[in-house]
């Protein structure tokens, strides 16, 4: 085989792979966590429709805090793609 893989191409390939895998696994966890919080909020609204405003506010706050670890994974992806320290 005449084509060779240069070391720079190897670094870029694995950086791209790492960026995708990082945010992919994080999205899995976030989806489950935020979905659980939303399901409890919907159940609460079904039980007591007058508390909809309060429940909505608390649910949004809880979901935004849950999203934090996903944002950390997103930062790792962005650093690997745009500010790659290895290449």
């Amino acid at each position: 085989m005449s084509s060779q893989i240069t070391p720079e191409a190897l670094i870029y390939a694995f950086s791209a792979l790492g960026a995708a895998v990082s945010i992919g696994f994080a999205a899995l966890g976030i989806g489950i966590g935020q979905g659980l919080a939303a399901s409890r909020a919907v159940e609460g609204v079904g039980r007591q429709p007058e508390a909809k405003g309060d429940l909505l506010q608390v649910m949004l706050v809880g979901q935004a805090v849950t999203e934090t670890t996903g944002i950390f994974a997103f930062i790792v992806s962005i650093v690997l793609l745009f500010a790659n320290p290895f290449a």
Binding site: A64, V65, F72, F74, I75, I78, F82
Partner: protein
């Protein structure tokens, strides 16, 4: 694709000013001008634009009183300023500019101010010795873990805000570039497809997300300062 903030002015010995600093100053000037304009010629019975100013101030004070209790009412001016500065900084994407908080320096500065306030409140409530004793409850080996917990809070606060706003910037930039390329493929002289199609993305990333993130930032700051206010029924 260039992700970071752009350098606007370069001085000779290597110091430069980015457009984050310029727009931060512009946002601060806009807030000051709005505040001064709404309170010109104040009357005892408000009418006109003073009504809106009073609604805003009452809303902030009520929120601070509900979350921080009556002892935290002195923090209300800082909380109000923080909320409106973060809100206006995030919403700069509506005017086509780069949001001020899409730069990690801005969000880390705001989180550092919050950290200083939390430590100051803790020192005021417990004193230095009392704070050390507080961190060694219930077992002394939890002391390094508690130090890490205190240090990691401003880092997570700043990265949450930065990551959310930067994500919005990247998505909208890619959307607009994609639509411009599609307009060129259709041989249009100006990118007409950029006109109406990005509006739902603009609504989500430039109106809903800034309000939510500003609210989360302010609420977390209030909650963590409140946790350091000692209640009077502890032994003195």
């Amino acid at each position: 694709m260039h992700i970071g903030p752009q350098i606007v002015i370069k001085f000779d010995n290597g110091i430069f000013i980015t457009n984050t600093v310029c727009f931060g100053i512009i946002v601060a000037v806009i807030l000051i001008v709005l505040a001064l304009w709404a309170t010109r010629r104040m009357k005892k019975v408000p009418d006109g634009k003073q009504v809106i100013a009073e609604i805003v101030v009452e809303g902030v004070y009520n929120m601070v009183k509900a979350t921080m209790g009556p002892k935290g009412i002195n923090y209300a001016p800082y909380i109000g300023t923080l909320f409106f500065f973060v809100l206006f900084s995030n919403m700069l994407g509506l005017f086509g500019q780069r949001p001020v908080t899409a730069d990690v320096n801005t969000t880390f500065a705001l989180a550092a101010i919050t950290f200083v306030l939390i430590q100051r409140q803790a020192l005021k409530s417990y004193g230095l010795i009392g704070k050390m004793k507080e961190m060694a409850q219930p077992y002394p080996f939890m002391f390094p873990l508690k130090i890490i917990e205190q240090l990691s809070f401003p880092i997570s606060l700043s990265f949450r805000l930065f990551g959310n706003i930067l994500g919005g910037v990247i998505v909208i930039e890619m959307l607009l570039e994609g639509l411009a390329t599609a307009s060129e493929a259709l041989h249009l002289p100006i990118p007409l497809l950029d006109a109406v199609i990005p509006l739902p993305a603009n609504f989500f990333f430039d109106i809903f997300e800034p309000v939510l993130q500003a609210f989360i930032f302010t609420m977390l700051t209030m909650v963590f300062i409140t946790m350091e206010i000692a209640t009077r029924d502890e032994e003195h």
